[in-house]
């Protein structure tokens, strides 16, 4: 038995970062790229949808919100599997040839975090007080303008939701493993590398990669809060 893998993981993380290990740099950038892109597309879809759900009173609104909250519990493997079945050669979207590509991984993660982002957007907007809504309407905003204004106003809470979504995307392994295939040099990302190294008992390397992943998440977090504070 060699030393403590957690301590060694820290040392190794520092080592990998200092030496800018090209493989690690590559998969880190890929992770970031895929999860940021997925978060971006998911936000593009989920924020307006969430705002619409928040805005309009309709029958079954409560059920929709409950469903969204339930979908927080959607296992990543299931999402991965379903996306895989769609993108697979013989699946309905096989012709897109997205399976085992970063593009497919973006699709999978986008789908994975949409319910979360929608649900959190609804919650974030619910924090906006009714009089502000009335004010926006009274000022003559049309629907789109209303949605944009209200999201801008709740930007701190919405951003917290987006961050949570990004965190879920970059930390998850189920969908990217199934849809991406963890192909070295093509679709390997931090989490699949961690899973692989764990299965190979390279615990300290796993922990090192985990630390790098957290560092990346922290960076995104700080970057976003700087943007926000402007």
């Amino acid at each position: 038995m060699n030393g403590n893998p957690i301590v060694e993981g820290f040392i190794e993380a520092i080592n990998l970062i200092v030496t800018l290990n090209p493989q690690v740099v590559e998969i880190t950038i890929r992770s970031l790229y895929i999860s940021l892109t997925a978060t971006f597309f998911a936000s593009l879809i989920a924020l307006p949808l969430g705002a619409l759900i928040y805005f309009y009173e309709f029958r079954g609104k409560h059920a929709v919100i409950s469903t969204l909250q339930t979908l927080y519990a959607l296992p990543t493997v299931i999402v991965g599997l379903i996306v895989f079945l769609f993108l697979s050669n013989i699946g309905p979207l096989g012709f897109l040839r997205l399976l085992y590509t970063p593009g497919g991984m973006v699709v999978a993660q986008t789908i994975l975090i949409i319910p979360l982002l929608m649900g959190l957007t609804v919650s974030a907007l619910s924090g906006i007080d009714r009089d502000k809504r009335y004010t926006i309407t009274a000022l003559g905003a049309n629907r789109l303008q209303t949605v944009v204004t209200i999201i801008a106003e709740a930007r701190f809470a919405v951003m917290a939701g987006v961050l949570l979504g990004f965190g879920r995307a970059i930390a998850e392994v189920g969908t990217v493993m199934i849809v991406g295939g963890n192909i070295r040099g093509a679709t390997r990302v931090l989490t699949t590398a961690i899973a692989l190294n764990t299965s190979m008992a390279n615990y300290s390397l796993s922990i090192a990669l985990g630390i790098i992943l957290l560092g990346v998440a922290l960076g995104v977090n700080i970057a976003l809060s700087l943007v926000q504070r402007r």
Binding site: D131, T135, Q145, E153
Partner: protein, 363 residues
């Protein structure tokens, strides 16, 4: 010309009926004040008239256009109106961006926005805050930002929902002055809700009293304050004396009413029934040290002072003269009269200051 015409408006939230049987018509260029107790539905009615919320039932036409059938036109109509809310609402952005909102929604050109926003901030005395974050301003300043945000859109109808409830007298005066001048100079139609009765009186041509979800009385403020239609309105407008009585005869065009203690009181109101209540404002009752010789008031009788309660700058004086009457005199007059408990005074009261309403069942 009638600019707002509402008929039979009803509004429920879930099972709670907030408005019912609301009829209202407002003329172009008029200042109309809605007064009424908290929770009576003033804000809800203003929101409906501003087309922010649909009524549950009823007819509403704005600018002569019936709105119920045609929700497609709501946005256009709404853009010709503006509303200021009770709580100062500002958005987490610069003062400039806050004031520009309405214009941006209307896709106004950039230089026009710039000119108007700066002009409006000048007018409310907030020029130096143009770049500040609006949420950092004090309540009064925020309310002025909110007002300029509405005014830059040059609304033809301005709704004000208790615009000064949270403001100090200085900020209140500023806002009242702006509203008055917009009405006088730009001919803007103004609907204001307020629970400051004096504000209603100061600003409005006509006042509507909202009680429990409906407009119970409409008229010039003098009428509302001196000739309320029923007991609830009388109570709300702060009338101190509501005395049950019975009409006994008519004399020289005046109604003679006998109150419980047997005293006869003359009123200029034609009798609304046999069982009535006399409604007398405290400030219409004059007190004298001795019988005034020159007095032309139709009612004149001696009474005993039973309570003196200063409510600066006035004094509430309760006198007993068969029934109890509360008179409101200025502190200076109270001093001059040398009022004290148990003192004998003469009460004079003009017949036209005694308003009669039908006796209502409940107390």
């Amino acid at each position: 010309m009638t600019i707002i015409e509402a008929h039979n408006i009803r509004k429920s939230y879930g099972s709670l009926e907030v408005l019912h049987d609301v009829d209202l018509s407002v003329r172009e260029g008029e200042v109309f004040a809605l007064i009424g107790p908290s929770g009576s539905g003033k804000s809800t009615l203003l929101r409906i008239l501003d087309l922010i919320e649909p009524p549950s039932a009823g007819e509403l036409s704005v600018f002569g256009i019936a709105t119920v059938e045609d929700r497609g036109r709501w946005l256009d109509l709404r853009r010709r109106m503006g509303m200021l809310f009770q709580r100062p609402i500002v958005f987490n952005a610069s003062v400039y961006d806050n004031v520009a909102m309405g214009l941006r929604y209307r896709s106004a050109p950039g230089d026009e926005i710039d000119r108007k926003v700066k002009g409006a901030l000048e007018a409310v005395g907030l020029s130096r805050y143009v770049g500040s974050r609006a949420t950092d301003l004090s309540g009064g300043e925020q309310q002025r930002v909110a007002l300029s945000r509405v005014l830059v859109t040059e609304p033809e109808i301005l709704f004000l929902d208790e615009p000064t409830a949270n403001l100090d007298p200085g900020s209140t005066a500023t806002i009242e002055a702006i509203v008055t001048s917009l009405n006088r100079e730009a001919g803007m139609t103004v609907l204001i809700s307020t629970h400051d009765l004096m504000q209603g009186q100061r600003l409005a041509h006509r006042v509507g009293v909202m009680i429990e979800g409906t407009i119970a009385q409409t008229g010039p403020s003098r009428e509302i304050f001196h000739e309320p239609k029923d007991r609830r309105i009388a109570r709300f407008v702060g009338i101190q004396n509501i005395i049950p009585g019975r009409v006994v005869s008519l004399r020289e065009g005046l109604t003679v009413v006998v109150e419980a203690g047997g005293k006869q009181i003359l009123s200029a109101t034609p009798p609304p029934g046999e069982e009535v209540e006399m409604v007398v404002r405290g400030e219409d009752i004059s007190l004298h040290r001795r019988e005034p010789g020159f007095e032309e008031a139709e009612n004149l009788f001696p009474a005993t002072v039973t309570a003196i309660e200063p409510t600066a700058p006035f004094v509430n004086v309760t006198v007993h003269c068969g029934c109890d009457l509360v008179a409101l005199v200025t502190a200076r007059r109270a001093e001059t009269l040398g009022l004290h408990d148990g003192m004998l005074v003469w009460v004079s009261l003009q017949a036209k200051a005694v308003h009669l309403i039908p006796r209502s069942g409940a107390g």
